[in-house]
Symmetry: C2
């Protein structure tokens, strides 16, 4: 049966990560693939108490329809806890940050419009921009993040004005790289001068191991930065509670599209997030997340150093969940994955993150969801498979 | 500050209902406006117990990421409880039925594509099709719902093949009208013959006062009907848990767009819906909803009969939440609304439901969220305002 689909469906593809999730849910597989928070660190007791409180004190309001913009008290809490000046009425609660990416794509992108991205960049964002038939310009990055001079060059030479620049300034997915503090104001200055909006995706800012995260890009511009924050990584993904803080001129349109998309994020998960703050010593909880992830990241660095073949390079994250590994060889990581899964270890191949055709010999490794000993075992298994693959190509 | 927006934003508008929600949340206003379930009938105790069970027995799984398609056990439960044969793998869990409408629009609609709708039809669906730059063809209805001969005529004379037909067969929003059982197979036969898909939106089917709902359109076609069901009206809107059961050939595309839109509906609300079935005598709960809404509907019929000026006509719902009233006069219900709000009573004016330019002297009244005595008072206030408006125009 053939259906007459919209032209945009030709650009649809499944997320390589979401498909992998199905394989990696098998318990015997060591998964360095997903982007899952450590389940043993979920504040489950606080969430359960918060849930009791929500049913007991908010009653039917927690279950009824509510405004599209979000629950007032949560918007106020979000506004008050940003690293930049924000008012409650600037906050739009979203159903995960993924929804924020879709909302901004809906209101900005006509088919063929340009988006500036890094290569590699977050696969779920690329998938969303693809679904809006975007075309890409690539800004260069190094170990200190996006290079301001490269952004200047890209914007100055763009064949038409890009609709926005998509960046993950803290512990980028998949690279793990953070944009250095002094570069941030320069990047915003360049974007403002060229009158191009930045979409600042910040799910990992709270997971900086040192606790010291540079100021967000949004701190430098009220007019040209859409900030996206989330509770998925600090509380739990299944709340699907995140938020967008766009420039005033974009707010109304995002609300209107959100009405079409899901009417509103449920009052129940919003109130659950709000009451979890009351039940939890948030600073202690964050400190525990940072310490654990920092320890796991160190374990991954040590394991890569110990096992990976000479010539491999990798990033050195200061937070977040991911390391990006580049193999100095002709090893195709997409092909390697099949053998890896046979040997009960999984990772995400680099190519789907790269709109420039690169990443074929790269991989993203996750350290947040695996204890140190398992990281060592997983990295060691991978190293053996890589060495075997290199030997086979010689 | 002017932003370069996508062309589709020119068709965006705010939902008249969602904007009204802000006014009607004032406690002293009698709201016959919203589409809110009766909060006193929320199965709050069962939901609270279910919530305990979810945290206790599902633990971290309830909080982690999960598959885009939905939680397996919930998909199985949904498949097993339909009025048509469905398999778990045909069920896509969505973040409210509104998301189902957006998903189908994304995969089917190019700008300028045709959608067949009734006039009046559900405002949130029209808003979504508008956001996809759809154009409309109108199928005629009477007190027995959509007229098959009219659908035949519309499809036979369409300037190009419509992408889909949007219908709410049970207790239509806003009209309250149900498509008569014998018409249903005819409608599906016509759609199949013209090879046009039907989007069957069914949030109110479980709310048939008699408990006897005619077979869904989906029962007559595996290939040409996308069925949308929801837990919003039977459990609680704030779960934002609903489902789509599309033809097999559309499933994959809907999943891919959903990945872009919000990755997945949260495991937590899905498991909450699942466990609520275990905590609740569902048949007794439904019987209570039906009896209460039936009683309120009768109260509204009696109040309209007693108070509304001669020449007004209204529908006679067999379920659901809404009555559609047509005034036999030049009263503009949009203008009437301002005076109504001053007199602390609210309704939704008819025009935003009508893509044919009609509905200017019509209104949608809600009976689910208001006790009988308040319905009488609200309808009586409205009647006085209408009489005053009629007197002013003579």
């Amino acid at each position: 049966m053939a259906y007459a689909l919209a032209s945009r469906t030709s650009r649809l593809k499944s997320s390589a990560i979401r498909e992998l999730l199905k394989i990696t849910q098998q318990p015997e597989v060591i998964s360095l693939a997903g982007g899952l928070p450590a389940p043993e660190l979920f504040p489950i007791e606080a969430l359960q108490k918060a849930s009791d409180t929500v049913f007991r004190t908010h009653g039917p309001t927690a279950l009824q329809y509510g405004p599209t913009e979000g629950v007032g008290a949560l918007r106020a809490r979000i506004a008050a806890t940003q690293q930049f000046r924000a008012l409650p009425e600037q906050v739009l609660v979203t159903t995960g940050s993924q929804q924020g990416l879709f909302l901004i794509s809906q209101i900005m992108l006509d088919p063929g419009d340009l988006v500036v991205v890094e290569s590699p960049s977050y696969l779920g964002a690329l998938q969303t921009f693809d679904a809006h038939q975007a075309e890409y310009l690539i800004v260069q990055s190094d170990s200190q993040g996006v290079i301001p001079e490269s952004l200047e060059e890209v914007l100055a030479n763009a064949p038409k004005k890009p609709k926005f620049i998509y960046l993950i300034p803290n512990h980028q997915n998949p690279s793990g790289v953070t944009i250095e503090a002094l570069r941030r104001s320069k990047i915003v200055e360049i974007a403002e001068r060229h009158d191009v909006i930045i979409v600042e995706d910040d799910p990992y800012g709270a997971l900086t191991f040192s606790g010291q995260t540079p100021p967000p890009l949004r701190a430098f511009s009220d007019t040209h930065v859409v900030y996206l924050g989330s509770f998925s990584k600090v509380f739990a993904p299944s709340l699907r509670v995140a938020y967008a803080i766009p420039p005033a001129g974009l707010f109304k349109y995002m609300v209107q599209v959100k009405q079409c998309m899901d009417l509103q994020t449920g009052n129940l998960p919003q109130l659950l997030a709000l009451e979890t703050f009351a039940e939890l010593d948030f600073d202690t909880h964050l400190a525990r997340l940072r310490a654990t992830y920092g320890h796991r990241c160190e374990a991954m660095m040590a394991s890569l150093e110990a096992h990976f073949p000479k010539g491999s390079t990798w990033t050195h994250p200061q937070g977040g969940m991911f390391v990006w590994v580049q193999l100095d060889s002709d090893v195709n990581t997409q092909e390697l994955l099949d053998r890896a899964v046979e040997h009960k270890v999984a990772f995400v191949p680099g190519a789907p993150f790269c709109v420039d055709g690169g990443g074929k010999n790269a991989m993203r490794l996750n350290f947040s969801n695996v204890p140190p000993a398992t990281i060592e075992e997983g990295v060691s298994r991978l190293a053996n498979l890589i060495k075997a693959a290199v030997a086979a190509t010689v």
